[in-house]
C-alpha cells in the first residue's frame, strides 16, 4: 500500500518534469522514465502483458523516436521570448485542467460496486481457444477484430510517414545511414545484444499463448534489435520499394483477413475458429502478424525515404 502511494507520487513527479521542463531533450528523457515507471505500475495492477508493452513500446520505441526528433529540431525550435503562452491563457488552462482532473477523481472514487467485469466470460471461452494467457485469448479470439484493425492502422501510419518523402526520394531508403566506430562501444553492444535480443523477442512472442507476452511485445523487441543494429551501422534499411519488404509488411493483415474469411466457411462467422483448430489457426495468424508488426514498427522509427540506393 505504502509502495503503491509512493510509486504513484513518483509517476506524478516524473510527469511534472516532462511537462514543465525547460528543455525538450530533458523532457523526452523524463518521458522515458515516465514510461518505465508506468510499466512498474502495470505489474502492480496485475497486468504483466501491458507492463511489457508499456516498457518496450510506450517507453522504449516512443522515447527513441522522440529523442531523435528532439535533437534534430533542437537549434531553431528553442522558444523565442514572447512565444510563451500568455499568463491569462496559462491561468485559464490550469483551471480547465483542474476541473478535468476533479471530474476524473470523482469518477475514480464513485466507480460502481460491485465492479463490472468480463473476466468470467473470458475465462469460460478461453478453453475453446487452447490458449493459457487470457489477454492473448482476448486479443486473438474474443476481440480479434480489434487486433486485425490495429495491424491495418499500423500500415496506414507507415503509409502516412512514407508519403512525407520528397518526390525524388520516393521508393528510396528510409532515414540516414548510420556510421559508428567499428571498434566502439555501440558496435560491440549491438553485436553482443542483437542475437540475444532476437532470441528474447521470439521467446516473448512464443510464450504469449500461455504466459505474459505476445505478438506485440515480441515484435517490439525484434524491431528494437533491428534499430540497434542499424544505429551501429551493421545493417542498412532496405529501399521501401522492395517487393519482399512490402510483402512482409502486408503478410500479417492479409493472412489475418484470409483466416478470418475462412471462418465463414468452417465456423459460420467472420474470425470464428472451430474449437479443434483454434490454437493452430491462432498461431498461423500470429507468426506473420508478428513479422509484419516488427517490420512496420522499425520502419516507423526509421522515418520517410530520404536517399536513393546509390547515394
Amino acid at each position: 500500500m505504502a509502495f503503491d502511494i509512493g510509486l504513484a507520487i513518483l509517476v506524478l513527479g516524473v510527469a511534472v518534469w516532462t511537462i514543465a521542463g525547460r528543455d525538450a531533450f530533458a523532457a523526452v528523457v523524463g518521458f522515458v522514465a515516465y514510461g518505465l515507471l508506468l510499466a512498474l505500475v502495470w505489474v502492480r495492477l496485475a497486468a504483466p502483458d501491458v507492463a511489457l508493452t508499456e516498457a518496450a513500446l510506450g517507453s522504449g520505441l516512443t522515447g527513441g523516436l522522440l529523442l531523435a526528433a528532439s535533437t534534430r529540431l533542437r537549434r531553431p525550435e528553442t522558444t523565442a521570448p514572447g512565444e510563451e503562452s500568455a499568463a491569462p491563457l496559462r491561468f485559464a488552462a490550469a483551471i480547465v485542467c483542474a476541473l478535468v482532473t476533479a471530474g476524473l477523481v470523482a469518477i475514480v472514487l464513485l466507480l460502481p460496486e460491485p465492479p463490472p467485469t468480463l473476466a468470467p466470460q473470458a475465462a469460460a471461452n478461453m478453453a475453446a481457444t487452447g490458449l493459457g494467457n487470457p489477454v492473448t485469448a482476448v486479443l486473438m479470439a474474443y476481440r480479434a477484430i480489434d487486433t486485425l484493425l490495429e495491424t491495418v492502422v499500423l500500415l496506414l501510419a507507415l503509409l502516412g510517414v512514407w508519403s512525407l518523402a520528397p518526390d525524388r526520394f520516393w521508393g528510396g531508403l528510409p532515414g540516414q545511414r548510420h556510421h559508428a566506430d567499428p571498434e566502439g562501444v555501440l558496435t560491440f553492444a549491438a553485436q553482443l545484444l542483437v542475437p540475444v535480443g532476437v532470441l528474447v523477442g521470439i521467446h516473448i512472442f512464443w510464450v504469449g499463448s500461455i504466459a505474459p507476452g505476445g505478438e506485440f511485445q515480441g515484435a517490439t523487441i525484434l524491431a528494437a534489435m533491428w534499430i540497434l543494429a542499424a544505429m551501429a551501422g551493421l545493417v542498412d534499411a532496405p529501399a521501401v520499394s522492395r517487393r519482399w519488404l512490402r510483402s512482409m509488411l502486408v503478410a500479417g493483415p492479409v493472412v489475418f483477413l484470409a483466416i478470418g474469411l475462412i471462418g465463414f466457411a468452417i465456423a459460420g462467422a467472420f474470425l470464428a475458429y472451430p474449437d479443434s483448430l483454434a490454437k493452430l489457426l491462432i498461431v498461423l495468424i500470429e507468426v506473420p502478424v508478428t513479422l509484419s508488426i516488427a517490420a512496420t514498427l522499425a520502419l516507423l522509427v526509421a522515418g520517410p525515404p530520404a536517399r536513393m540506393p546509390q547515394q
Binding site: 516532462t18 511537462i19 505500475v41 497486468a47 516512443t62 525550435e77 488552462a93 475465462a123 490495429e150
Partner: protein, 102 residues
C-alpha cells in the same frame, strides 16, 4: 484507500497535467509529449478498472487489458506519424512551430 485507488487518483492527475502541457506549450514536439502523458493517464485509468474487475482467478479483467495493449500500439503509430509530419515541416519551412502569421 486501496492501491488501485491511489493509481486511479494518479491517472486523474496525469490527464489534467498532460492537458495543461498540450494547451500551454507552443512547440509541437512538447505538445506530442504532453499528449502521450495524457495517453498514459487514460490507459492507467483503464488498468485500474481492469484491476477492480479481478475475477475467475485472474488478477484483472483481461478485456480492458487487451484494449490497453491495442491502444499503446495505436498511440505509437500516431506519435510516429506526428514526428514525421513535424520533421518534414522543419525541412520545408526551416522551423517547426504552429504560428501562421509569417
Amino acid at each position: 484507500m486501496s492501491g488501485s485507488t491511489a493509481y486511479g487518483l494518479c491517472s486523474a492527475a496525469l490527464v489534467g497535467l498532460g492537458l495543461f502541457g498540450l494547451i500551454v506549450h507552443p512547440e509541437p514536439l512538447r505538445k506530442t509529449l504532453a499528449f502521450n502523458v495524457i495517453g498514459g493517464g487514460v490507459f492507467l485509468l483503464f488498468g485500474v478498472v481492469a484491476r477492480r474487475g479481478a475475477a475467475a482467478g485472474f488478477g484483472g479483467d483481461p478485456v480492458p487489458q487487451a484494449l490497453v495493449i491495442t491502444g499503446l500500439v495505436v498511440a505509437f503509430a500516431a506519435t510516429a506519424l506526428t514526428v514525421g509530419l513535424l520533421l518534414r515541416l522543419f525541412q520545408e519551412a526551416g522551423r517547426a512551430n504552429l504560428r501562421s502569421d509569417e
